[in-house]
């Protein structure tokens, strides 16, 4: 019963997310509403970690599999993609590398600065 109950809670939250997605006029998907709702429920103690933990770990473990159909779907969009493939490929590769490098370096730099400052405060 453990997984049934845990999975039930996660599905119920997904459902509330779907309702919000339908009612609120913003392009925010059900999954993101659901993520925020579950986080709030965990933080406020309404849902305890042990009530969703195992099913969540399982879902996250199999998550990469869920992207395979979308990847295989590229087969179908190849015809529309082909005419602008070169610019699309260059933009995709360059911007993905740039975003990863910039967001990582900025986060790291701010963390390093504040830990250094904390260190000086200790002295």
């Amino acid at each position: 019963m453990k997984y049934v109950k845990q999975f039930g809670i996660i599905l119920a939250i997904s459902f509330v997310g779907e309702i919000l997605n339908a009612v609120v006029p913003l392009p925010i998907p059900a999954s993101i509403y659901g993520l925020v709702i579950l986080l709030i429920l965990l933080c406020t103690g309404v849902v305890r970690l042990s009530a969703v933990g195992s099913a969540s770990k399982l879902l996250i473990e199999i998550m990469p599999l869920m992207f395979i159909p979308a990847g295989v779907g590229l087969l179908k969009s190849w015809d529309v993609l082909r005419p602008i493939f070169l610019p699309v490929a260059v933009i995709t590769v360059v911007s993905t590398v740039a975003v990863m490098a910039v967001s990582g370096r900025v986060t790291q730099a701010v963390i390093n600065r504040s830990t250094k400052r904390d260190g000086e405060d200790d002295e």
């Binding site: 392009p27 993101i32 969540s56 993905t96």
Partner: protein, 230 residues
């Protein structure tokens, strides 16, 4: 033969899962980033469909059950995030600055290169939501009048690319802090990248999950402003 395979509800999922397992074994054996289980399983599944002459729609009839799990799995990302909440509080400024700078980099990069390639307005807005999670990105593309199918394709390619190159890029740019790694991966390559971050560690995974939501929401606003530039 191909009709039996096309009609089967399990064949599509089975081949995807087996290919993923094979990719995992290859990676374990050769320890090379190019043997990325997700990339390998996509390539093998595409090859199998082409060789056995199976239509994508027939494959997807079985495979879409995998897709069904995506919303609950994304909701479940709240759990690792909750477990790392103290780390989030402690590094709040760094995390927000990191994600905001990443979102801006994405929009500026797409804008500059769209100018350089002389893309039309429609092609340009199609590319704007490329770094965010599919469900939000589709909505953004549609709202701005882009080609939604191409947006989805580009978002998937970005995710798989981020998943494959993340360890290499972190090394190249000396991104060592696990919080920074997670933010870098989630902001650049959404949920598909996040599965790689989860493999790297709990902190990386949690921070990457957070970035999916925050960068997605920031891009909704940012893209509508940038859409007016071309």
């Amino acid at each position: 033969m191909s009709e039996v395979l096309s009609d089967s509800a399990f064949f599509g999922v089975l081949i995807s899962i087996s290919a993923y397992g094979l990719g995992f074994l290859l990676k374990k054996k050769f320890k090379l980033a190019i043997f990325n289980p997700l990339l390998i399983s996509i390539i093998i599944t595409v090859a199998a469909l082409l060789l056995l002459n199976i239509d994508y729609d027939a494959y997807n009839e079985g495979a879409e059950y995998l897709n069904w799990f995506l919303t609950p799995a994304t909701v479940a990302l709240a759990v690792p995030l909750y477990e790392q909440l103290s780390l989030l509080r402690k590094n709040f400024a760094a995390i927000i600055l990191g994600i905001v700078s990443g979102v801006l980099t994405s929009l500026v990069c797409v804008f500059l290169m769209a100018l350089a390639f002389g893309l039309s307005h429609t092609e340009y807005v199609t590319m704007l939501p490329k770094s965010i999670t599919t469900a939000i990105g589709m909505g953004v593309s549609e709202e701005l009048g882009g080609y939604v199918t191409i947006s989805v394709a580009v978002i998937v390619i970005t995710g798989v690319l981020g998943n494959v190159i993340a360890p290499f890029i972190c090394k190249l740019f000396r991104i060592k802090n696990p919080v920074a790694k997670g933010i870098a991966i989630g902001t650049s390559s959404h949920a598909v990248g996040t599965t790689k971050a989860m493999e790297m560690g709990e902190v990386e995974g949690a921070m990457s999950s957070l970035s999916i939501a925050v960068s997605g929401i920031l891009t909704v606003g940012g893209a509508s402003i940038f859409a007016q530039f071309i």
